[in-house]
Symmetry: C2
Subunit: 318 residues, 2 copies
């Protein structure tokens, strides 16, 4: 069994951390706003794969209280990237591995700079998880995590898969982290982007209005093209299969419950949105590589404006 620190105990961190605890791992959750609720009432997971209650999880208000662990699961929002190093560092010892269950492009690069490339894993969760009342998480649909390693090292990937053996989470391995990241973006960019820019709607409305549905297809194709150009530019052999990806991702979303993607929840609640990692960096790479991405460019510009308005409303500098 491993000692695990969940840094960023939002809905996604709590869900996967709880599944590891259920499997017998010693899981410590770094908690901020939900600390008191969880201390009083435990952590409650309402899940399509079976409910779960941790009456007395290990919770901490600081990473120093947790100290070095075998695995850090970092599930912070990408918007917190500048504070991330300080939050993760106290949990990193000589043999610690770090799994990022985060959205966006370029985050593993930062972790590799801070802590060394060998430790860094990408975890790509295809799942529908929303926060409920404080201390409660709703897992609505799907849930597999794809495990990849920053250096695409097969034995490290195997170590990553081994963590989840026995946990009630389906895991897949990806031999190429960058391809897996772009595959994830092929869902996140259309659905996080369009549910926000269409005014704060659920995924079913994006797919139910003909113009938005076409836009979802179009921007997904752009992301696949940008991803393939980026893979080629990195000298990697993997390629994304546009037709298969579009059919698969649209199809899975068609049969999914009306879902509020994380960025849409942030938008509705006036919280910081993951614009830089999820939109700006993919667009930057596409443009640098000469890939035509009009849909991505427009959505990115709109997201930047919407995020700026939200910051102004929160009284933050812009």
């Amino acid at each position: 069994m491993s000692r695990v620190a969940v840094i960023g105990a939002g809905a996604v961190g709590c869900y996967y951390g709880a599944r590891l605890a259920e499997a017998g791992h010693e899981v410590h959750f770094l908690m901020r706003r939900d600390y008191d609720a969880v201390a009083a009432g435990g952590l409650r997971i309402e899940s399509v794969d079976g409910d779960l209650v941790l009456p007395h999880p290990h919770i901490a208000r600081s990473s120093e209280e947790i100290g070095p662990v075998d695995w850090v699961i970092c599930a912070l929002k990408a918007t917190a990237i500048e504070e991330t190093r300080a939050l993760v560092a106290p949990c990193v010892g000589d043999t610690t591995r770090i799994l990022l269950i985060m959205n966006g492009l370029g985050l593993e690069e930062r972790f590799a700079e801070w802590f060394g490339a060998r430790r860094v894993f990408g975890g790509l969760a295809f799942t529908c998880i929303n926060r409920g009342e404080p201390g409660t998480v709703h897992h609505i649909d799907y849930g597999p995590v794809t495990i990849a390693h920053f250096e695409d090292d097969a034995s490290e990937i195997a170590a990553g898969m081994a963590l989840w053996a026995g946990a009630k989470v389906k895991t897949l391995s990806a031999s190429c982290l960058l391809a897996a990241r772009w595959m994830k973006l092929a869902w996140n960019i259309p659905f996080n982007g369009l549910t926000v820019t269409a005014g704060g709607v659920t995924t079913d409305r994006v797919l139910g209005m003909p113009g938005l549905r076409e836009a979802a297809h179009a921007v997904m194709r752009e992301v696949v093209a940008a991803g393939n150009a980026d893979l080629a530019a990195h000298g990697l052999a993997d390629r994304l299969d546009e037709g298969a990806i579009v059919t698969d991702l649209i199809g899975r979303t068609d049969v999914m419950a009306a879902y509020r993607p994380s960025t849409m929840v942030d938008f509705i609640e006036g919280l910081p949105m993951e614009v830089d990692a999820m939109f700006v960096e993919p667009l930057r790479r596409a443009q640098a590589l000469g890939v035509a991405t009009p849909y991505l460019a427009l959505i990115t510009a709109q997201m930047q404006s919407l995020d700026r308005l939200a910051r102004e409303r929160r009284g933050e500098p812009t």
Copy 2:
């Protein structure tokens, strides 16, 4: 002097009607929500071209009270198109001419079906006018009206220009109504569309954020291309000059005050937006003609969703 009915006495209708009254015409305003305020306090125009007060304008609660006139100025919102015929008809006699100071594509066609093509004029206002307190209109910038005729008849255009002789409004004539409409859309689509879909911002922010500024250029080029294809499909010789139009419209907007386009005001206030005439119909024509318009397509889809959300919030059927 002419007898004039202003149907749709919002900010634009009040402004231009007041300028005609100032020039000595007998101008009747069909008023709804501002009737009592104007009856009590008159109509007040605060304008960069000189303030103007009409202490006792002719105002009516129904078109029947006004009856047949020489000129109908129809300044209704395009969203009211289905009620428009009934509002205009009582003012139309044998020799009545009708000038549409309205936004969007395809509206003159409807008027021509209802009242006969010969009567129908398009008036394209390049101006910044917003409502103030009830009975007050703020004219912030610009103001010329381009006069065109549905059949592009030169003697009718001259009659249209003659109406404004002596009024404190700069008028231009357009020999081709369809070209003039697309020229107007080349401003309206980027600036009405992007100020809304960027979250409800003023024009200066669209031009001040690099991604939105690029998007404004890109969608403007699409509109020009669609317009030229539409002109060719109609067998018309006029063409829009992309480079000159983009330079002119972006340049004029760069030096303009921070402006709230009419659709952005509707968005912020939760009112019906002119989506069909200003976005859907231009997109429909572009797609029918095989013109690539990714920016226009995405903005249109987003506008339809935002308008649907506003209708749901108003409790209207969608």
